[in-house]
Symmetry: C2
Protein backbone atom coordinates (compact mmCIF):
# COMPACT_ATOMS: atom_id res chain seq x y z
CA UNK A 1 0.00 0.00 0.00
CA UNK A 2 1.42 3.36 -1.01
CA UNK A 3 1.88 5.77 1.89
CA UNK A 4 -1.05 8.16 2.24
CA UNK A 5 -0.52 11.87 1.80
CA UNK A 6 -2.39 14.97 2.89
CA UNK A 7 -3.23 15.49 -0.77
CA UNK A 8 -5.18 12.22 -0.85
CA UNK A 9 -7.63 13.62 1.68
CA UNK A 10 -7.83 16.99 -0.08
CA UNK A 11 -8.57 15.27 -3.39
CA UNK A 12 -11.14 13.04 -1.76
CA UNK A 13 -12.97 15.98 -0.22
CA UNK A 14 -13.09 17.77 -3.53
CA UNK A 15 -14.46 14.68 -5.29
CA UNK A 16 -17.33 14.18 -2.85
CA UNK A 17 -18.14 17.80 -1.98
CA UNK A 18 -21.16 18.03 -4.29
CA UNK A 19 -22.64 14.78 -2.99
CA UNK A 20 -22.46 15.53 0.75
CA UNK A 21 -23.54 18.22 3.19
CA UNK A 22 -20.89 20.24 4.94
CA UNK A 23 -22.35 19.52 8.35
CA UNK A 24 -22.43 22.13 11.12
CA UNK A 25 -20.24 22.11 14.22
CA UNK A 26 -22.33 22.71 17.34
CA UNK A 27 -21.27 23.73 20.83
CA UNK A 28 -23.06 23.58 24.16
CA UNK A 29 -22.17 25.64 27.21
CA UNK A 30 -23.93 23.14 29.43
CA UNK A 31 -22.05 20.13 28.07
CA UNK A 32 -18.80 22.09 28.38
CA UNK A 33 -19.63 22.64 32.05
CA UNK A 34 -20.51 19.00 32.61
CA UNK A 35 -17.40 17.66 30.85
CA UNK A 36 -14.90 20.33 31.87
CA UNK A 37 -13.62 20.40 28.27
CA UNK A 38 -14.40 22.75 25.39
CA UNK A 39 -16.43 20.59 23.02
CA UNK A 40 -17.03 20.85 19.29
CA UNK A 41 -19.62 18.43 17.94
CA UNK A 42 -19.33 17.63 14.23
CA UNK A 43 -22.93 16.80 13.35
CA UNK A 44 -22.85 13.92 10.89
CA UNK A 45 -26.32 13.05 12.17
CA UNK A 46 -27.32 15.92 9.85
CA UNK A 47 -25.42 14.34 6.93
CA UNK A 48 -27.41 13.12 3.92
CA UNK A 49 -29.17 9.84 4.83
CA UNK A 50 -28.32 10.63 8.45
CA UNK A 51 -24.75 9.38 8.88
CA UNK A 52 -21.08 9.94 7.96
CA UNK A 53 -21.17 6.79 5.81
CA UNK A 54 -22.41 8.89 2.90
CA UNK A 55 -18.89 10.31 2.63
CA UNK A 56 -17.06 7.01 2.21
CA UNK A 57 -19.70 5.57 -0.11
CA UNK A 58 -19.62 8.61 -2.38
CA UNK A 59 -15.83 8.57 -2.49
CA UNK A 60 -15.54 4.87 -3.28
CA UNK A 61 -18.02 5.13 -6.16
CA UNK A 62 -16.42 8.31 -7.50
CA UNK A 63 -13.06 6.53 -7.76
CA UNK A 64 -14.36 3.81 -10.07
CA UNK A 65 -13.77 4.02 -13.79
CA UNK A 66 -16.69 4.97 -16.03
CA UNK A 67 -16.91 1.32 -17.12
CA UNK A 68 -17.00 0.08 -13.55
CA UNK A 69 -19.64 2.68 -12.67
CA UNK A 70 -21.82 1.49 -15.55
CA UNK A 71 -21.83 -2.02 -14.08
CA UNK A 72 -22.93 -0.85 -10.65
CA UNK A 73 -21.81 -1.41 -7.05
CA UNK A 74 -22.74 -4.00 -4.46
CA UNK A 75 -22.38 -4.36 -0.70
CA UNK A 76 -23.87 -6.42 2.08
CA UNK A 77 -25.15 -4.44 5.02
CA UNK A 78 -28.37 -3.97 6.90
CA UNK A 79 -27.25 -0.73 8.49
CA UNK A 80 -26.30 2.79 7.52
CA UNK A 81 -23.86 1.74 4.80
CA UNK A 82 -26.67 0.09 2.82
CA UNK A 83 -28.51 3.40 2.76
CA UNK A 84 -25.33 5.37 2.13
CA UNK A 85 -24.30 3.28 -0.87
CA UNK A 86 -27.82 3.48 -2.30
CA UNK A 87 -28.02 7.26 -2.02
CA UNK A 88 -24.42 7.88 -3.11
CA UNK A 89 -24.97 5.62 -6.14
CA UNK A 90 -28.12 7.50 -7.08
CA UNK A 91 -26.30 10.78 -6.60
CA UNK A 92 -23.59 9.58 -9.01
CA UNK A 93 -25.96 7.90 -11.48
CA UNK A 94 -24.85 4.36 -10.66
CA UNK A 95 -26.84 1.19 -9.86
CA UNK A 96 -26.54 -0.10 -6.27
CA UNK A 97 -27.25 -3.72 -5.27
CA UNK A 98 -27.69 -4.24 -1.56
CA UNK A 99 -27.54 -7.73 -0.08
CA UNK A 100 -29.65 -7.82 3.10
CA UNK A 101 -30.60 -10.69 5.40
CA UNK A 102 -34.23 -11.72 4.89
CA UNK A 103 -34.93 -10.95 8.55
CA UNK A 104 -33.81 -7.30 8.29
CA UNK A 105 -36.44 -4.88 9.66
CA UNK A 106 -38.90 -3.63 7.05
CA UNK A 107 -38.02 -0.03 7.96
CA UNK A 108 -34.41 -0.63 6.86
CA UNK A 109 -35.50 -2.25 3.61
CA UNK A 110 -37.84 0.67 2.93
CA UNK A 111 -35.04 3.16 3.57
CA UNK A 112 -32.74 1.42 1.07
CA UNK A 113 -35.53 1.27 -1.51
CA UNK A 114 -36.35 4.94 -0.84
CA UNK A 115 -32.79 5.87 -1.77
CA UNK A 116 -32.99 3.79 -4.95
CA UNK A 117 -31.00 0.71 -3.88
CA UNK A 118 -31.98 -2.73 -5.27
CA UNK A 119 -32.33 -5.25 -2.47
CA UNK A 120 -31.19 -8.87 -2.79
CA UNK A 121 -32.39 -10.93 0.14
CA UNK A 122 -30.44 -13.86 1.57
CA UNK A 123 -30.30 -16.08 4.65
CA UNK A 124 -29.09 -14.20 7.73
CA UNK A 125 -25.58 -15.66 7.87
CA UNK A 126 -22.27 -14.11 6.86
CA UNK A 127 -21.61 -16.96 4.40
CA UNK A 128 -24.95 -16.44 2.68
CA UNK A 129 -24.34 -12.69 2.48
CA UNK A 130 -20.91 -13.09 0.95
CA UNK A 131 -22.17 -15.67 -1.50
CA UNK A 132 -25.07 -13.45 -2.59
CA UNK A 133 -22.74 -10.49 -3.09
CA UNK A 134 -20.32 -12.63 -5.10
CA UNK A 135 -23.18 -13.70 -7.34
CA UNK A 136 -24.02 -10.07 -8.10
CA UNK A 137 -20.38 -9.35 -8.91
CA UNK A 138 -20.37 -12.29 -11.34
CA UNK A 139 -23.79 -11.58 -12.84
CA UNK A 140 -23.54 -7.81 -13.42
CA UNK A 141 -19.81 -7.17 -13.15
CA UNK A 142 -20.66 -4.89 -10.22
CA UNK A 143 -17.86 -3.73 -7.92
CA UNK A 144 -18.02 -4.89 -4.32
CA UNK A 145 -17.53 -2.06 -1.83
CA UNK A 146 -16.78 -2.93 1.77
CA UNK A 147 -18.40 -0.67 4.42
CA UNK A 148 -15.17 -0.02 6.34
CA UNK A 149 -12.19 -2.01 5.11
CA UNK A 150 -11.58 -0.08 1.90
CA UNK A 151 -9.05 2.70 1.51
CA UNK A 152 -11.36 4.98 -0.48
CA UNK A 153 -14.09 4.49 2.08
CA UNK A 154 -11.63 5.28 4.89
CA UNK A 155 -10.48 8.48 3.18
CA UNK A 156 -14.10 9.52 2.62
CA UNK A 157 -14.97 9.01 6.29
CA UNK A 158 -11.92 11.07 7.22
CA UNK A 159 -13.33 14.18 5.56
CA UNK A 160 -15.65 14.81 8.51
CA UNK A 161 -12.65 15.29 10.82
CA UNK A 162 -10.92 17.24 8.07
CA UNK A 163 -13.80 19.73 7.89
CA UNK A 164 -13.92 19.90 11.68
CA UNK A 165 -10.22 20.81 11.78
CA UNK A 166 -10.72 23.42 9.09
CA UNK A 167 -13.29 25.04 11.39
CA UNK A 168 -11.33 24.41 14.62
CA UNK A 169 -7.64 24.00 13.77
CA UNK A 170 -6.39 23.77 17.35
CA UNK A 171 -8.23 20.78 18.70
CA UNK A 172 -6.27 18.74 21.23
CA UNK A 173 -8.32 15.63 20.55
CA UNK A 174 -10.82 14.11 18.19
CA UNK A 175 -13.12 11.42 19.57
CA UNK A 176 -14.92 8.94 17.30
CA UNK A 177 -16.78 5.68 17.82
CA UNK A 178 -15.04 2.44 16.77
CA UNK A 179 -17.05 -0.11 14.82
CA UNK A 180 -15.63 -1.57 11.61
CA UNK A 181 -12.73 0.89 11.85
CA UNK A 182 -13.35 3.06 8.78
CA UNK A 183 -14.36 6.22 10.61
CA UNK A 184 -11.63 6.14 13.24
CA UNK A 185 -8.93 5.28 10.68
CA UNK A 186 -9.99 8.14 8.39
CA UNK A 187 -10.35 10.57 11.30
CA UNK A 188 -6.90 9.67 12.61
CA UNK A 189 -5.41 10.33 9.17
CA UNK A 190 -7.16 13.70 9.05
CA UNK A 191 -5.97 14.57 12.56
CA UNK A 192 -2.44 13.61 11.56
CA UNK A 193 -2.42 15.68 8.37
CA UNK A 194 -4.58 18.65 9.36
CA UNK A 195 -4.30 18.82 13.14
CA UNK A 196 -1.82 20.62 15.31
CA UNK A 197 -0.67 17.74 17.50
CA UNK A 198 -4.28 16.54 17.61
CA UNK A 199 -4.69 13.07 19.11
CA UNK A 200 -7.43 10.70 17.93
CA UNK A 201 -9.23 8.69 20.59
CA UNK A 202 -11.80 5.96 20.06
CA UNK A 203 -14.84 5.18 22.16
CA UNK A 204 -15.94 1.54 22.23
CA UNK A 205 -18.50 -0.41 24.30
CA UNK A 206 -17.02 -2.91 26.79
CA UNK A 207 -19.49 -5.39 25.29
CA UNK A 208 -17.79 -5.29 21.87
CA UNK A 209 -14.24 -4.21 22.71
CA UNK A 210 -12.54 -6.04 19.84
CA UNK A 211 -10.67 -2.92 18.70
CA UNK A 212 -9.38 -2.21 22.20
CA UNK A 213 -8.11 -5.78 22.45
CA UNK A 214 -6.69 -5.65 18.92
CA UNK A 215 -4.56 -2.64 19.81
CA UNK A 216 -3.29 -4.51 22.90
CA UNK A 217 -2.54 -7.80 21.13
CA UNK A 218 -1.30 -6.39 17.84
CA UNK A 219 -3.67 -8.54 15.78
CA UNK A 220 -7.32 -8.24 14.79
CA UNK A 221 -9.52 -9.61 17.57
CA UNK A 222 -13.19 -10.60 17.36
CA UNK A 223 -16.27 -10.38 19.60
CA UNK A 224 -17.83 -13.61 20.82
CA UNK A 225 -21.02 -11.83 21.84
CA UNK A 226 -22.37 -8.44 20.75
CA UNK A 227 -24.80 -7.44 23.51
CA UNK A 228 -24.64 -3.70 23.05
CA UNK A 229 -27.18 -0.99 22.40
CA UNK A 230 -24.62 0.54 20.00
CA UNK A 231 -25.75 -1.58 17.07
CA UNK A 232 -23.45 0.17 14.61
CA UNK A 233 -20.34 -0.96 16.51
CA UNK A 234 -20.73 -4.74 16.45
CA UNK A 235 -18.38 -5.30 13.51
CA UNK A 236 -14.65 -5.89 13.71
CA UNK A 237 -11.59 -4.20 12.19
CA UNK A 238 -10.13 -5.18 8.82
CA UNK A 239 -6.63 -5.64 7.44
CA UNK A 240 -6.68 -2.28 5.64
CA UNK A 241 -7.88 -0.03 8.45
CA UNK A 242 -6.12 -1.84 11.33
CA UNK A 243 -2.55 -0.76 10.40
CA UNK A 244 -3.75 2.85 10.09
CA UNK A 245 -5.42 2.62 13.50
CA UNK A 246 -2.28 1.10 15.02
CA UNK A 247 -0.15 3.88 13.61
CA UNK A 248 -2.33 6.94 14.16
CA UNK A 249 -4.87 6.32 16.93
CA UNK A 250 -3.75 7.36 20.41
CA UNK A 251 -5.97 5.02 22.41
CA UNK A 252 -9.42 3.53 22.85
CA UNK A 253 -11.59 4.17 25.92
CA UNK A 254 -14.23 1.58 26.74
CA UNK A 255 -17.65 2.42 28.19
CA UNK A 256 -20.50 0.61 29.91
CA UNK A 257 -23.95 0.33 28.32
CA UNK A 258 -25.45 2.62 30.98
CA UNK A 259 -22.86 5.28 30.19
CA UNK A 260 -23.84 5.14 26.51
CA UNK A 261 -27.52 5.66 27.34
CA UNK A 262 -26.74 8.53 29.72
CA UNK A 263 -24.50 10.25 27.18
CA UNK A 264 -27.16 9.82 24.50
CA UNK A 265 -29.81 11.29 26.79
CA UNK A 266 -27.61 14.26 27.70
CA UNK A 267 -27.12 15.14 24.04
CA UNK A 268 -30.83 14.71 23.24
CA UNK A 269 -31.96 16.78 26.21
CA UNK A 270 -29.33 19.47 26.25
CA UNK A 271 -28.52 19.90 22.57
CA UNK A 272 -32.00 19.02 21.24
CA UNK A 273 -30.56 16.88 18.49
CA UNK A 274 -31.17 13.23 17.68
CA UNK A 275 -28.22 10.87 17.70
CA UNK A 276 -28.18 7.09 17.52
CA UNK A 277 -26.76 5.01 20.39
CA UNK A 278 -23.46 4.23 18.57
CA UNK A 279 -23.01 7.96 18.13
CA UNK A 280 -23.14 8.61 21.89
CA UNK A 281 -20.20 6.30 22.59
CA UNK A 282 -17.31 8.78 22.08
CA UNK A 283 -19.04 11.37 24.28
CA UNK A 284 -19.58 8.68 26.91
CA UNK A 285 -15.86 7.86 26.66
CA UNK A 286 -14.94 11.50 27.20
CA UNK A 287 -17.23 11.77 30.23
CA UNK A 288 -15.81 8.58 31.72
CA UNK A 289 -12.29 10.01 31.62
CA UNK A 290 -13.18 13.67 31.90
CA UNK A 291 -10.39 14.44 34.35
CA UNK A 292 -7.82 13.66 31.63
CA UNK A 293 -9.38 16.18 29.23
CA UNK A 294 -10.06 19.09 31.56
CA UNK A 295 -9.63 22.39 29.74
CA UNK A 296 -8.84 20.67 26.43
CA UNK A 297 -10.39 21.54 23.09
CA UNK A 298 -12.09 18.34 22.03
CA UNK A 299 -13.80 17.53 18.76
CA UNK A 300 -16.42 14.80 18.78
CA UNK A 301 -17.69 13.19 15.59
CA UNK A 302 -21.42 12.68 16.04
CA UNK A 303 -21.60 9.82 13.61
CA UNK A 304 -25.31 9.42 12.88
CA UNK A 305 -28.92 10.00 13.81
CA UNK A 306 -30.83 7.01 12.45
CA UNK A 307 -32.81 5.67 15.40
CA UNK A 308 -36.02 3.73 15.64
CA UNK A 309 -38.21 6.12 17.65
CA UNK A 310 -40.34 3.18 18.70
CA UNK A 311 -37.40 1.55 20.50
CA UNK A 312 -35.73 4.21 22.60
CA UNK A 313 -33.76 3.27 25.72
CA UNK A 314 -35.40 5.93 27.90
CA UNK B 1 -51.47 52.01 23.38
CA UNK B 2 -49.06 53.94 21.21
CA UNK B 3 -48.74 52.54 17.67
CA UNK B 4 -45.81 50.17 17.32
CA UNK B 5 -42.99 51.03 14.94
CA UNK B 6 -40.32 49.02 13.16
CA UNK B 7 -37.84 50.78 15.44
CA UNK B 8 -39.45 49.19 18.51
CA UNK B 9 -38.48 45.74 17.24
CA UNK B 10 -34.99 46.88 16.24
CA UNK B 11 -34.43 48.37 19.69
CA UNK B 12 -35.77 45.24 21.33
CA UNK B 13 -33.44 43.00 19.40
CA UNK B 14 -30.46 45.12 20.30
CA UNK B 15 -31.40 45.06 24.00
CA UNK B 16 -31.65 41.29 24.19
CA UNK B 17 -28.92 40.27 21.73
CA UNK B 18 -26.34 39.47 24.39
CA UNK B 19 -28.78 37.34 26.39
CA UNK B 20 -30.03 35.11 23.56
CA UNK B 21 -28.64 32.84 20.87
CA UNK B 22 -29.08 33.81 17.26
CA UNK B 23 -30.59 30.46 16.36
CA UNK B 24 -29.87 28.73 13.05
CA UNK B 25 -32.30 28.42 10.15
CA UNK B 26 -32.39 24.84 8.87
CA UNK B 27 -33.71 23.44 5.61
CA UNK B 28 -34.59 19.91 4.53
CA UNK B 29 -34.84 18.72 0.94
CA UNK B 30 -37.03 15.82 2.04
CA UNK B 31 -39.51 18.01 3.92
CA UNK B 32 -39.59 20.38 0.95
CA UNK B 33 -40.53 17.41 -1.23
CA UNK B 34 -43.19 16.21 1.19
CA UNK B 35 -44.75 19.65 1.64
CA UNK B 36 -44.29 21.03 -1.86
CA UNK B 37 -43.11 24.32 -0.35
CA UNK B 38 -39.62 25.69 0.26
CA UNK B 39 -39.28 25.59 4.02
CA UNK B 40 -37.05 27.54 6.39
CA UNK B 41 -37.14 26.31 9.97
CA UNK B 42 -36.13 28.88 12.59
CA UNK B 43 -34.77 26.69 15.36
CA UNK B 44 -35.84 28.19 18.66
CA UNK B 45 -35.58 24.69 20.09
CA UNK B 46 -31.86 25.54 20.11
CA UNK B 47 -32.53 28.81 21.98
CA UNK B 48 -31.17 29.19 25.53
CA UNK B 49 -33.35 27.11 27.92
CA UNK B 50 -34.80 25.45 24.83
CA UNK B 51 -37.54 27.84 23.68
CA UNK B 52 -38.29 31.26 22.16
CA UNK B 53 -39.66 32.43 25.52
CA UNK B 54 -36.15 33.44 26.51
CA UNK B 55 -36.50 36.37 24.11
CA UNK B 56 -39.61 37.91 25.62
CA UNK B 57 -38.48 37.31 29.17
CA UNK B 58 -35.12 38.98 28.57
CA UNK B 59 -36.75 41.94 26.88
CA UNK B 60 -39.36 42.51 29.59
CA UNK B 61 -36.71 42.47 32.32
CA UNK B 62 -34.35 44.70 30.35
CA UNK B 63 -37.07 47.36 30.08
CA UNK B 64 -37.50 47.73 33.83
CA UNK B 65 -35.84 50.60 35.66
CA UNK B 66 -32.78 49.87 37.78
CA UNK B 67 -34.97 50.24 40.88
CA UNK B 68 -37.53 47.81 39.56
CA UNK B 69 -34.81 45.34 38.61
CA UNK B 70 -33.41 45.48 42.15
CA UNK B 71 -36.80 44.38 43.51
CA UNK B 72 -37.02 41.35 41.20
CA UNK B 73 -39.64 39.89 38.87
CA UNK B 74 -42.42 37.38 39.39
CA UNK B 75 -44.61 35.21 37.19
CA UNK B 76 -46.83 32.19 37.53
CA UNK B 77 -46.13 29.39 35.09
CA UNK B 78 -45.22 25.75 35.16
CA UNK B 79 -43.99 25.73 31.59
CA UNK B 80 -41.24 27.23 29.47
CA UNK B 81 -41.87 30.80 30.64
CA UNK B 82 -40.97 29.86 34.22
CA UNK B 83 -37.58 28.64 33.00
CA UNK B 84 -37.19 31.57 30.62
CA UNK B 85 -37.84 34.19 33.28
CA UNK B 86 -35.47 32.43 35.68
CA UNK B 87 -32.61 32.28 33.18
CA UNK B 88 -33.22 35.75 31.74
CA UNK B 89 -33.30 37.19 35.27
CA UNK B 90 -30.03 35.48 36.14
CA UNK B 91 -28.53 36.69 32.87
CA UNK B 92 -29.51 40.27 33.82
CA UNK B 93 -28.60 39.97 37.51
CA UNK B 94 -32.17 40.14 38.76
CA UNK B 95 -34.11 37.96 41.26
CA UNK B 96 -36.92 35.83 39.77
CA UNK B 97 -39.82 34.49 41.83
CA UNK B 98 -41.78 31.72 40.12
CA UNK B 99 -45.21 30.74 41.39
CA UNK B 100 -45.85 27.08 40.55
CA UNK B 101 -48.69 24.72 41.43
CA UNK B 102 -47.63 22.24 44.13
CA UNK B 103 -48.46 19.37 41.74
CA UNK B 104 -46.03 20.56 39.05
CA UNK B 105 -43.66 17.78 37.93
CA UNK B 106 -40.38 17.65 39.87
CA UNK B 107 -38.44 17.88 36.59
CA UNK B 108 -39.98 21.31 35.91
CA UNK B 109 -39.22 22.52 39.43
CA UNK B 110 -35.64 21.31 39.08
CA UNK B 111 -35.26 23.13 35.76
CA UNK B 112 -36.44 26.42 37.29
CA UNK B 113 -34.11 25.97 40.27
CA UNK B 114 -31.27 25.06 37.90
CA UNK B 115 -31.69 28.42 36.18
CA UNK B 116 -31.70 30.22 39.53
CA UNK B 117 -35.43 30.91 39.91
CA UNK B 118 -36.99 30.91 43.42
CA UNK B 119 -40.09 28.74 43.51
CA UNK B 120 -43.18 29.66 45.49
CA UNK B 121 -45.63 26.75 45.61
CA UNK B 122 -49.40 27.19 45.71
CA UNK B 123 -52.59 25.22 45.22
CA UNK B 124 -53.15 24.22 41.57
CA UNK B 125 -55.86 26.77 40.77
CA UNK B 126 -55.66 30.02 38.84
CA UNK B 127 -56.99 31.98 41.85
CA UNK B 128 -54.31 30.54 44.12
CA UNK B 129 -51.61 31.30 41.54
CA UNK B 130 -52.71 34.88 41.09
CA UNK B 131 -52.98 35.37 44.86
CA UNK B 132 -49.50 33.97 45.44
CA UNK B 133 -48.02 36.19 42.73
CA UNK B 134 -49.77 39.24 44.18
CA UNK B 135 -48.30 38.46 47.56
CA UNK B 136 -44.78 38.48 46.10
CA UNK B 137 -45.46 41.81 44.42
CA UNK B 138 -46.57 43.25 47.76
CA UNK B 139 -43.81 41.66 49.84
CA UNK B 140 -40.78 42.41 47.65
CA UNK B 141 -42.07 45.09 45.31
CA UNK B 142 -41.31 42.65 42.47
CA UNK B 143 -42.74 43.35 39.01
CA UNK B 144 -45.24 40.85 37.65
CA UNK B 145 -44.47 39.74 34.09
CA UNK B 146 -47.14 37.96 32.11
CA UNK B 147 -45.94 35.11 29.84
CA UNK B 148 -47.76 36.36 26.75
CA UNK B 149 -50.03 39.35 27.35
CA UNK B 150 -47.32 41.97 27.78
CA UNK B 151 -46.14 44.29 25.04
CA UNK B 152 -42.43 43.91 25.87
CA UNK B 153 -42.79 40.13 25.91
CA UNK B 154 -44.61 40.26 22.54
CA UNK B 155 -41.86 42.37 20.98
CA UNK B 156 -39.22 40.01 22.36
CA UNK B 157 -40.93 36.96 20.89
CA UNK B 158 -41.15 38.79 17.56
CA UNK B 159 -37.37 38.92 17.23
CA UNK B 160 -37.23 35.26 16.13
CA UNK B 161 -39.28 36.08 13.01
CA UNK B 162 -37.26 39.28 12.61
CA UNK B 163 -34.00 37.30 12.48
CA UNK B 164 -35.59 34.78 10.12
CA UNK B 165 -36.58 37.58 7.73
CA UNK B 166 -33.09 39.05 7.91
CA UNK B 167 -31.81 35.67 6.71
CA UNK B 168 -34.66 35.05 4.23
CA UNK B 169 -36.19 38.42 3.25
CA UNK B 170 -38.60 37.05 0.66
CA UNK B 171 -40.70 34.63 2.64
CA UNK B 172 -44.32 34.40 1.50
CA UNK B 173 -45.49 33.15 4.87
CA UNK B 174 -44.44 32.70 8.45
CA UNK B 175 -46.13 29.92 10.43
CA UNK B 176 -46.17 29.90 14.25
CA UNK B 177 -48.08 27.99 16.91
CA UNK B 178 -50.82 29.85 18.81
CA UNK B 179 -50.98 29.46 22.55
CA UNK B 180 -51.20 32.55 24.78
CA UNK B 181 -50.71 34.70 21.69
CA UNK B 182 -47.35 36.32 22.44
CA UNK B 183 -45.35 34.52 19.77
CA UNK B 184 -47.84 34.90 16.94
CA UNK B 185 -48.50 38.57 17.76
CA UNK B 186 -44.78 39.36 17.83
CA UNK B 187 -44.12 37.32 14.68
CA UNK B 188 -46.96 39.08 12.83
CA UNK B 189 -45.48 42.47 13.78
CA UNK B 190 -42.07 41.35 12.52
CA UNK B 191 -43.59 40.02 9.27
CA UNK B 192 -45.40 43.34 8.82
CA UNK B 193 -42.34 45.51 9.40
CA UNK B 194 -39.58 43.34 7.92
CA UNK B 195 -41.34 41.14 5.40
CA UNK B 196 -42.07 41.70 1.76
CA UNK B 197 -45.83 41.05 1.76
CA UNK B 198 -45.19 38.16 4.16
CA UNK B 199 -48.38 36.74 5.69
CA UNK B 200 -48.43 35.29 9.21
CA UNK B 201 -50.41 32.11 9.76
CA UNK B 202 -51.12 30.36 13.04
CA UNK B 203 -51.35 26.65 13.71
CA UNK B 204 -53.69 25.60 16.51
CA UNK B 205 -55.01 22.23 17.71
CA UNK B 206 -58.75 21.63 17.14
CA UNK B 207 -58.86 20.60 20.79
CA UNK B 208 -57.91 24.11 21.99
CA UNK B 209 -59.05 26.30 19.12
CA UNK B 210 -59.85 29.37 21.22
CA UNK B 211 -57.76 31.69 19.02
CA UNK B 212 -59.42 30.43 15.83
CA UNK B 213 -62.83 31.09 17.39
CA UNK B 214 -61.69 34.44 18.77
CA UNK B 215 -60.77 35.66 15.28
CA UNK B 216 -64.20 34.55 14.03
CA UNK B 217 -66.22 36.10 16.85
CA UNK B 218 -64.14 39.24 17.34
CA UNK B 219 -63.77 38.66 21.10
CA UNK B 220 -61.47 36.53 23.21
CA UNK B 221 -62.83 33.00 23.45
CA UNK B 222 -61.88 30.29 25.94
CA UNK B 223 -61.42 26.51 25.92
CA UNK B 224 -63.74 24.40 27.99
CA UNK B 225 -61.46 21.39 27.75
CA UNK B 226 -57.76 21.19 26.85
CA UNK B 227 -57.22 17.60 25.70
CA UNK B 228 -54.23 18.20 23.49
CA UNK B 229 -50.72 16.82 23.34
CA UNK B 230 -49.57 20.38 22.59
CA UNK B 231 -49.31 21.30 26.25
CA UNK B 232 -47.84 24.72 25.55
CA UNK B 233 -50.96 25.81 23.65
CA UNK B 234 -53.63 25.39 26.31
CA UNK B 235 -53.72 29.05 27.33
CA UNK B 236 -55.91 31.74 25.81
CA UNK B 237 -55.26 35.11 24.21
CA UNK B 238 -55.08 38.38 26.17
CA UNK B 239 -56.35 41.91 25.67
CA UNK B 240 -52.91 43.21 24.62
CA UNK B 241 -52.00 40.57 22.03
CA UNK B 242 -55.48 39.96 20.61
CA UNK B 243 -55.81 43.35 18.82
CA UNK B 244 -52.37 42.79 17.25
CA UNK B 245 -53.40 39.32 16.12
CA UNK B 246 -56.67 40.67 14.69
CA UNK B 247 -54.82 43.33 12.76
CA UNK B 248 -51.78 41.46 11.49
CA UNK B 249 -52.44 37.69 11.40
CA UNK B 250 -53.77 36.33 8.12
CA UNK B 251 -55.52 33.26 9.48
CA UNK B 252 -55.36 30.27 11.78
CA UNK B 253 -55.32 26.66 10.56
CA UNK B 254 -56.53 24.00 12.96
CA UNK B 255 -55.05 20.50 13.17
CA UNK B 256 -55.98 17.13 14.63
CA UNK B 257 -53.93 15.51 17.40
CA UNK B 258 -52.77 12.74 15.04
CA UNK B 259 -51.50 15.34 12.58
CA UNK B 260 -49.45 16.96 15.35
CA UNK B 261 -47.83 13.65 16.25
CA UNK B 262 -47.08 12.84 12.60
CA UNK B 263 -45.57 16.28 11.97
CA UNK B 264 -43.46 15.94 15.12
CA UNK B 265 -42.26 12.52 14.03
CA UNK B 266 -41.37 13.75 10.54
CA UNK B 267 -39.20 16.52 11.96
CA UNK B 268 -37.52 14.18 14.47
CA UNK B 269 -36.84 11.49 11.87
CA UNK B 270 -35.96 13.61 8.88
CA UNK B 271 -34.26 16.62 10.44
CA UNK B 272 -32.77 14.77 13.44
CA UNK B 273 -33.76 17.55 15.80
CA UNK B 274 -35.88 17.44 18.92
CA UNK B 275 -39.00 19.57 19.05
CA UNK B 276 -41.82 19.55 21.56
CA UNK B 277 -45.40 18.70 20.49
CA UNK B 278 -46.59 22.33 20.52
CA UNK B 279 -43.73 23.14 18.20
CA UNK B 280 -44.94 20.65 15.57
CA UNK B 281 -48.34 22.34 15.24
CA UNK B 282 -47.48 24.97 12.59
CA UNK B 283 -45.76 22.35 10.41
CA UNK B 284 -48.82 20.12 10.81
CA UNK B 285 -50.97 23.08 9.73
CA UNK B 286 -48.85 23.60 6.64
CA UNK B 287 -49.05 19.92 5.72
CA UNK B 288 -52.83 19.91 6.21
CA UNK B 289 -53.23 22.70 3.68
CA UNK B 290 -50.16 22.02 1.59
CA UNK B 291 -51.95 22.58 -1.71
CA UNK B 292 -52.41 26.27 -0.79
CA UNK B 293 -48.67 26.74 -0.22
CA UNK B 294 -47.22 24.85 -3.17
CA UNK B 295 -44.03 26.50 -4.38
CA UNK B 296 -44.16 29.18 -1.66
CA UNK B 297 -41.25 30.17 0.53
CA UNK B 298 -42.45 29.42 4.02
CA UNK B 299 -40.77 30.20 7.34
CA UNK B 300 -41.73 28.05 10.30
CA UNK B 301 -40.90 29.08 13.85
CA UNK B 302 -39.86 25.91 15.67
CA UNK B 303 -40.82 27.22 19.07
CA UNK B 304 -39.13 24.84 21.50
CA UNK B 305 -37.53 21.52 22.28
CA UNK B 306 -38.33 20.78 25.91
CA UNK B 307 -39.87 17.33 25.95
CA UNK B 308 -40.04 14.62 28.56
CA UNK B 309 -38.19 11.77 26.83
CA UNK B 310 -39.99 9.33 29.10
CA UNK B 311 -43.37 10.33 27.68
CA UNK B 312 -43.07 10.38 23.92
CA UNK B 313 -46.13 9.83 21.69
CA UNK B 314 -44.40 7.31 19.43
Amino acid sequence: MKALQKQDLLDCHQRIAEHIHRTPVLTSRLLNEISGAELFFKCENFQRMGAFKMRGAAHAISRLTKEQQQRGVVTHSSGNFAQALSLAARSLGVDAYIVMPNNAPQVKKDAVKGYGGQIIECEPTLTAREKAAKKIVEKYGATFIHPSNDLDVILGQGTAAQELLEDQPNLDNIFTPVGGGGLIAGSALAAHFFGNDCKTIGGEPFEVDDAYRSLKSGKIEFNETTNTIADGLKTQLGDINFPIIQKYVDRIIRVEEQEIIEAMRLIWERMKIIIEPSCAVPFAALLRERTSFKGKKVGIILSGGNVDLGKLPF
